[in-house]
């Protein structure tokens, strides 16, 4: 290379390096070893195959490089006449075949282990929605209070839109993480309510597609308490990049306490379904829910992204009959990204969000929707 070109390259690299220093970034090169037996086995498998490939690469590229250096015309090399050798051909068919068998044996062993989802201590149904996860803890006794909740990206939109500085767990944080006990076999029953998603937790080496109409099984035994972060891995539409997964693995006692607390909260929510709310409280809660759930499609200013995601500002539904509006939010619009929120939010939340959209973005119906109004329609839907 010319010295001048070298100088330029150096300058460019230096400029880029400076540019990168203001970002918190890690130079992570390799797969995580994770915190489960399966994830460590997978990592070992990965490294073993990687080294086989490196070894083969060194031999093949070595011969090639040696030929390129030594067998060049400018050095006076004269081409040899050979162009076949059955012996050599057999050799380099058989040797790779043997290497493949050596790779396949441990791979088969790990796969067999990973597929054994029998005898779990805890079963959790994981349902993918555009663009959030629902976790439903399966009960032994149907009379017990059920623990089920949605887990949604909690990174503020202002960080995504570069109006606020990005924080440490940017895009890998949720409002309510999945909580599981350590050292217990937790089985995930993975499915989807709309399109295909994939539930991926790198630290557990668990990745399973969430497919509508199917229930896939996966399992894990987490050995170390901690907070683990993953993401949806299958393209699922607009906000595919914004549906992270966070799992808190905690000791059994802590898990039990958390679970009991969740049961109490679920009971309290049910009781609150007939509370009377004030307009200001509803607007405040509604705005918070809007910014968490609705904003991805309908946008911060309610203009939506038509035609797929209609505007709420000036919308005929939002400014029209209240009951029709409630029904639409509860039942969704089949065949579109508008989900049936009757299943996802409780009556208090539903009434708040409907009150909010009917009094924002230039809409001014002045309506205050009460949880009881929503509850009536919810009941009749059932």
């Amino acid at each position: 290379m010319l010295p001048k070109a070298k100088l330029w390259l150096g300058l460019v690299v230096a400029a880029l390096m400076t540019l990168s220093t203001n970002l918190q970034a890690a130079w992570e090169l390799n797969m995580t070893r994770g915190v489960t037996q399966i994830s460590r086995d997978t990592y070992d498998l990965h490294m073993q195959i990687l080294w086989w490939c490196v070894a083969i690469g060194v031999v093949v590229f070595g011969v090639m490089l040696w030929s390129i250096i030594n067998h060049r015309k400018s050095k006076g090399a004269v081409a040899a006449a050979f162009h076949e050798s059955t012996k050599v051909e057999i050799l380099w068919t058989v040797i790779p075949f043997i290497i493949l068998i050596l790779m396949a044996i441990p791979a088969t062993r790990v796969l067999t282990e990973a597929y054994d989802s029998s005898e779990s201590d805890l079963d959790i149904q994981v349902t993918g929605y555009q663009w959030r996860w629902e976790y439903r803890y399966l009960r032994e006794d149907a009379n017990e209070e059920e623990v089920a909740f949605y887990s949604i990206l909690s990174t503020p939109r202002d960080q995504i839109n570069n109006d606020l500085p990005k924080e440490e767990h940017y895009l890998l944080e949720v409002d309510k993480p999945l909580v599981i006990p350590v050292n217990k076999k937790v089985r995930f029953l993975v499915t989807s309510n709309d399109v295909i998603h994939a539930w991926w937790m790198p630290a557990f080496a668990v990745k399973k597609d969430a497919i509508p109409g199917f229930i896939n099984e996966a399992w894990t035994i987490v050995e170390e308490p901690g907070i683990y972060r993953g993401q949806c891995a299958e393209l699922c539409g607009l906000d595919h990049g914004f549906m992270p997964i966070v799992v808190h693995a905690v000791p059994q006692e802590e898990y039990d306490a958390w679970y009991a607390g969740q049961q109490q909260a679920a009971a309290a929510t049910r009781a609150a379904a007939n509370n009377v709310v004030t307009l200001s409280a509803a607007l405040e809660q509604g705005e918070e829910i809007y910014n968490r759930i609705c904003i991805a499609c309908h946008q911060a200013n309610g203009t939506g992204l038509p035609p797929a995601f209609p505007a709420l500002a000036g919308s005929a539904v939002v400014n029209g009959d209240v009951e029709a509006n409630i029904r639409l939010v509860i039942n969704g619009v089949p065949g579109t990204a508008m989900a049936a929120y009757g299943r996802q939010l409780n009556p208090v939340e539903l009434s708040a969000i409907i009150t909010y959209i009917r009094n924002s973005f230039g809409n001014s119906t002045g309506d205050l929707v009460q949880p009881a109004d929503v509850n009536t329609i919810l009941q009749e839907a059932q």
Partner: protein, 528 residues
């Protein structure tokens, strides 16, 4: 020599009608190659949008919906518009000249199979200007995202895919008919250049799987418009069925894009090593084995859909087996270079880069075959790095190598070697800066098809984007080289390259409009 047979009364027509009505294999080859280059630049522009958005964390330039349209259109345009037509263009130009035939067997159909393509891609691209936006469900268009949840423009996409499929099927029928029926006396099957062999095999793959693709998009069409539920679970359908059918097309499709590349490399390396190709027979058998295996490995794209363990094991073992014939090819190319007398003109540089970088893509392919490890790699940037290594420095580099190698035969002029080398080195450095860090991103946990990412992925992403811009910009050099070479340059000899073997090099440069109207002298046909 054939030049003596050239009849100057039957030169090309003048003006636009020459290109619209042509049935000449060379003209149609040229059309295909220019079309492919235009699509390469269009698909490349989409890629530049993707890399620009991913330059930094956060949403800067495009909204997530448009980002998804870009990844989808980039994939579709590159696969169906750039790589496949480029190989058909090379086949049109070269197969008749390589086997001593006067033209393709079915010249009118040849015209038609080309002229369908601009309409197909105009229709596909026009969706970008529509309210509903372009297809945004990925080039693999998994249902139900591409059916129940698709933008309305999905119908344009389906029709465009049908047209592309029709074009490919006609092209492959033509190639099969030409190779089987129109070889010059003395050109036995086992004397055919490997490019002809690999294309013959590719044509059979196309015939087998293009109807499957047509089937799957027709099922989509019915689900979208006629109330069926092939892929709709709520109506009793099966979303996983889509993936099985798609990948039964999709995996052979991968080999459709690489087998002709093997043929190109098998022509170039012996020329510049001045030594016969090592193990010609085993190359033919290896290509056929790869083609066969391509039909029984499709579900390795679907290890996470929840197949029974027996299925997972079968597809893992079958996929690993592909490494054997592919390895044979790489070893044979290496053995051809070994003890040769090498020079390093631009086609050879691209060919060597192909062997090295394609092999690296092969290594990651082997890693991806290992099912438990695939659970971690699947749908991450590791996969993106893998298939771009086999497709860009693989298929695309082989097309560029072919363009430089045969350009003097097409234009009659030598191309600018200095610019060619500049193009090579810029592309070589650019492509590695672009795709190598994506291995790290994928292993560290970055999913593919995301418009934004967590902060720990920031550094490798900007590096990758810089490489992308560099690779993208350097393709304009190729455009300059091609135009310069058409306009003028040192006169090319018939032989062009000192070590070149084969019937096309017995023709003068540029190759006359009509060649081999009478069969070549059988003495000119050598064993490969």
């Amino acid at each position: 020599m054939s030049a003596a047979h050239d009849d100057h009364h039957h030169g090309p027509a003048k003006g636009l009608s020459r290109w619209l009505y042509t049935t000449n294999h060379k003209d149609i080859g040229t059309l295909y190659l220019w079309f492919s280059f235009a699509m390469f630049l269009l698909g490349g522009t989409f890629a530049m949008v993707i890399r620009a958005e991913l330059f930094q964390p956060g949403l800067q330039l495009v909204d997530p919906n448009f980002f998804n349209q870009m990844t989808t259109m980039h994939g579709l345009v590159m696969v169906f518009g750039a790589v496949m037509p480029a190989f058909v263009g090379l086949a049109n130009w070269l197969i008749p000249m390589m086997i001593g035939a006067p033209d393709m067997a079915l010249p009118r159909m040849n015209n038609w199979s080309f002229w369908i393509l601009p309409f197909a891609f105009a229709m596909l691209s026009s969706t970008l200007l529509m309210d509903a936006g372009a297809p945004n469900f990925g080039w693999t268009f998994y249902a139900p995202l591409s059916t129940t949840y698709a933008p309305e423009t999905v119908t344009f996409f389906i029709f465009a895919v049908h047209l592309m499929g029709a074009s490919s099927i006609m092209g492959s029928i033509n190639i099969i008919a030409t190779v089987l029926n129109m070889r010059a006396p003395g050109m036995t099957m086992m004397k055919m250049p490997l490019f002809v062999w690999t294309w013959l095999i590719t044509a059979y793959l196309l015939l087998a799987v293009m109807p499957v693709l047509a089937g799957v998009v027709t099922m989509m069409l019915f689900d979208v418009h006629f109330g069926t539920s092939f892929f709709n679970a709520a109506g009793g359908g099966d979303p996983v069925l889509f993936q099985h059918v798609f990948w039964f097309f999709g995996h052979p499709e991968v080999y459709i894009m690489i087998l002709p590349a093997f043929g190109v490399i098998s022509a170039i390396i012996p020329t510049f090593a001045r030594k016969r190709l090592f193990g010609y027979d085993s190359m033919v058998y290896a290509s056929a084995s790869i083609a066969f295996l391509s039909f029984i490995v499709w579900a390795h794209h679907m290890f996470t859909v929840g197949m029974p363990i027996a299925g997972e094991l079968f597809f893992m073992y079958a996929t690993m087996l592909i490494a054997v014939p592919t390895g044979v090819k790489v070893f044979n190319w290496t053995a051809t270079m070994f003890r040769g007398s090498m020079t390093f003109e631009t086609p050879m540089l691209f060919a060597i880069a192909f062997v090295v970088l394609f092999t690296m893509g092969g290594f990651t392919g082997l890693m991806l075959a290992i099912t438990p490890a695939d659970f971690q790699y699947h749908d991450t940037y590791f996969v993106v790095a893998h298939f771009h290594y086999v497709l860009v420095p693989g298929s695309v580099f082989s097309i560029m190598a072919a363009a430089y190698y045969w350009m003097p035969k097409w234009t009659g002029h030598m191309y600018d070697e200095r610019l060619g080398k500049l193009h090579f080195w810029m592309s070589f450095i650019g492509i590695n800066v672009l795709f190598f860090p994506q291995h790290f991103l994928g292993l560290a946990g970055m999913p593919r098809r995301v418009p934004d990412y967590a902060l720990q992925f920031a550094d490798f992403n900007w590096i990758s984007s810089i490489g992308g811009f560099m690779f993208g910009a350097s393709q304009l050099i190729l455009l300059v080289v091609v135009i310069k070479c058409i306009k003028g340059g040192p006169k090319a000899t018939a032989q062009v390259w000192e070590g070149a073997q084969g019937l096309e090099w017995t023709l003068e440069s540029p190759a006359p409009y009509h060649t081999f109207t009478t069969p070549p002298d059988p003495k000119l046909i050598h064993a490969q």
